[in-house]
């Protein structure tokens, strides 16, 4: 014997439960991509976008010189040796450049690393194009091995005129466990 009031209560409760589901979905599936999209669109956290750049035109602006500095950092608990082989170069906007970073696995076990870039000033991030970068992928190294990791980049010719120095920093993280976990999750879902 459902009265009108009982029906109203039911309808309202279902609507509120719907709001709960919507808000949960908002937190899980909207907020993270929205955050990344906003950071990228506004260029506000110095992240270069993690994608490979395809050269659109190769004109070089030889009138302008931009100084690019390279910095390396180890995330806490990451024992590798990690440093740029060149600490700074001068480049023309539009020109393709290559530098390398040195990495050595100092431990006696296999490890996987991931480098995360950050650019100062952060406004320069969207004008810093990478055509090749070790940061696009996880870098594994066997025990005691070392490697030179390559980075190719082009500074966009539209780089704001007041920017003369760009500092590119890589922080290297130990992702051995995470990589193993991703493998096992991928394997179990097959």
């Amino acid at each position: 014997m459902a009265t009108q009031a009982d029906k109203n209560i039911k309808v309202l409760s279902v609507k509120l439960a719907g709001l709960v589901v919507v808000m949960f979905a908002f937190a899980m599936w909207v907020m993270p991509p929205l955050y990344n999209a906003l950071c990228e669109a506004l260029g506000i956290n110095g992240k270069t976008n993690g994608q490979q750049y395809t050269v659109v035109d190769s004109q070089i602006d030889t009138n302008r010189i931009v100084k690019v500095q390279f910095v390396a950092q180890n995330n806490e608990m990451m024992p590798w040796e990690f440093a740029p082989n060149t600490s700074q170069i001068e480049v023309h906007p539009g020109e393709s450049n290559q530098v390398t970073y040195y990495a050595k696995n100092t431990q006696d076990k296999f490890m996987v690393s991931q480098a995360i870039p950050s650019i100062v000033p952060s406004r320069a991030a969207e004008y810093f194009h990478k055509t090749e970068c070790f940061c696009f992928n996880q870098q594994p190294l066997a025990a005691g091995k070392n490697a030179d990791l390559a980075l190719q980049f082009i500074i966009d010719r539209d780089l704001p005129k007041d920017i003369h120095v760009i500092t590119l920093s890589y922080t290297i993280f130990d992702v051995t466990e995470m990589a193993a976990k991703q493998d096992s999750v991928a394997a179990s879902s097959k």
């Binding site: 509120l16 949960f24 907020m31 993270p32 995360i116 993280f173 976990k181």
Partner: protein, 519 residues
């Protein structure tokens, strides 16, 4: 309706009850137990900080204490206490026979005890309990967390489910079960503030659930929501957390506003001044709470436009809040005031909450916040709003309504003693923390520079006094129930005008089985 007029007998009465008064009572006792548990954690913290250097506990355990104190007080003590008041009072204030969804109500409550047992049990696990602060910022709570963090995550999920069910119930009750003639703008202020609070809870508790779910994924399933190494961002955690966390602080304070909006008119023997503006102010505070979250994280490196936006939006909240304080004071103006214990707590709440509001305005200033951030100044600020704002209002509510609940009058002398000891203890604890905070003492650290020693000793003594006064509170309540002077007048307080003062005292097991007639 059948023949059952009284409660069932024995333990199953409490296990299977769907009666709003029984459930309200259980909520209130449970929250009081959690208040004592969270309080004992605070006593350990203050004992360690009595002197500089490490005396009593190790830093690892100290971190667990600060974390558990915050979690237990926010989610175990204050929130369930207000839900308990809502259960007891909302049906009686709107002339409804019970809550709209009584069986779900039972479940909302009975989720809580096992949840907090689970949370407390993490203290005895390998690696200890949560030690990353009640705000559980990633990566402290993911990469560097103790193994027990998974239990913490499930506990947060469970308490979220409980609050969401409780809120849906409150909204459904208020929207559908008001007595004929009680329009929205005739509802008692306590009902209004709870209606708005319930909407805030439904909107943001799922966001908290989302945050801990992402943590769970990062820890166990190889995702990287908050891990920079995998392309995520720890700062995202802070945005998601505070998108929940800022409305959360209004979830705690709005029902407290509701309580003082009932108590002050009763003991001033005047209707609440500016009722309509109170409703609009409460709604604006609730709306603004959604667009100010980043003022908790000015130091993460936001663009200047962001800092400015969050700074101005935050300061805007002072306007509706000031309107409320103005209304409470104006209600008292030229009233025939008597200072019974509930009124003392209510006046102290208004005064001390305003102090907390002022330090909040200082913290809202983005450039100044860089100095105050994560210092004891912040600790002083939010204890003025949480303890004086919420706990004082809860004490006020208990003294105000306990004669209606039990049919016995509490001991006025003991009540006033409890008030004055609390008032002095509270201010002695937290006022000096403003000074040490401004001088640079960081929060959540078990040791400190010698120059902070005197103020910290004062703080600790104050905390012990405040803690002890709560035992007097407990004693007074128990004594009221067992030996209190019986009262039978439905209108316990001569200034009481809301519907709960029209039912007999003590309130019978079933009230308003037929809706009351409103003038």
């Amino acid at each position: 309706m059948g023949a059952h007029h009284g409660p069932a007998k024995g333990l199953t009465r409490w296990l299977f009850t769907t009666n709003h008064k029984d459930i309200g009572t259980m909520y209130l006792w449970f929250s009081f137990a959690m208040f004592l548990l969270g309080g004992s954690f605070a006593m350990i913290i203050r004992a360690e900080l009595f002197q500089p250097g490490l005396q009593i506990v190790q830093p690892e355990f100290f971190n667990q204490m600060t974390t558990m104190h915050g979690l237990v007080m926010v989610f175990g003590a204050i929130m369930p206490a207000f839900v308990g008041l809502a259960n007891w009072m909302i049906p009686m204030m709107i002339g409804a026979p019970d809550m709209a969804l009584p069986r779900m109500n039972n479940w909302s409550f009975w989720i809580l005890p096992p949840t907090f047992l689970l949370l407390a049990s993490t203290l005895f696990m390998d690696g200890g309990g949560p030690n990353f602060g009640w705000t559980f910022y990633a990566p402290l709570s993911t990469t560097y967390a103790p193994p027990s963090v998974t239990f913490f995550i499930f506990a947060v999920h469970a308490m979220g489910i409980s609050s969401i069910m409780g809120s849906i119930n409150i909204i459904a009750t208020v929207v559908n079960m008001r007595a004929p003639g009680m329009t929205y703008m005739k509802m008692p202020m306590f009902v209004w503030t709870w209606l708005i609070t319930a909407f805030l809870l439904v909107a943001v508790m799922p966001v908290l659930a989302g945050a801990v779910t992402m943590m769970l994924m990062d820890i166990h399933f190889g995702t990287s929501f908050f891990s920079a190494a995998g392309g995520g961002d720890p700062v995202l955690f802070q945005h998601v957390f505070w998108f929940f966390g800022h409305p959360e602080v209004y979830i705690i304070i709005l029902p407290a506003f509701g309580v003082v909006s009932e108590v002050i008119p009763t003991f001033s023997r005047k209707p609440l001044f500016g009722y309509d503006s109170m409703v609009y102010a409460t709604s604006s505070i609730a709306f603004l709470s959604f667009i100010v979250w980043a003022h908790h994280m000015y130091t993460v490196g936001m663009p200047i436009a962001g800092e400015l936006f969050f700074m101005y939006a935050t300061m805007l909240i002072a306007v509706p809040t000031a309107a409320k304080v103005f209304n409470w004071i104006t209600t008292m103006f030229k009233g025939s005031i008597t200072l019974e214990t509930p009124m003392l707590f209510a006046i102290a709440k208004v005064f001390l909450f305003t102090v907390g509001g002022f330090s909040g305005l200082m913290l809202a200033i983005a450039p100044a916040d860089f100095q105050y951030h994560d210092s004891y100044f912040v600790v002083a600020h939010f204890h003025y709003t949480m303890v004086a704002g919420a706990i004082f209002a809860l004490s006020s509510a208990v003294y105000y309504w306990i004669p209606k609940w039990t049919g016995k009058m509490y001991n006025e002398t003991m009540g006033k003693t409890h008030f004055w000891i609390s008032f002095i203890g509270f201010n002695l604890t937290f006022f000096p923390q403003h000074f040490v905070g401004l001088a640079g003492m960081p929060r959540r650290i078990p040791d400190y520079n010698l120059m902070f020693a005197d103020f910290n000793m004062m703080s600790s003594i104050g905390a012990f006094i405040y803690g002890a006064s709560q035992l007097l509170f407990l004693f007074n309540i128990v004594r009221t129930i067992t030996h209190g002077k019986p009262v039978s007048d439905p209108k316990v307080w001569e200034g009481g005008t809301t519907l709960e003062w029209t039912v007999p005292t003590p309130a019978p097991y079933h009230t308003f089985t037929t809706p009351p007639q409103l003038k």
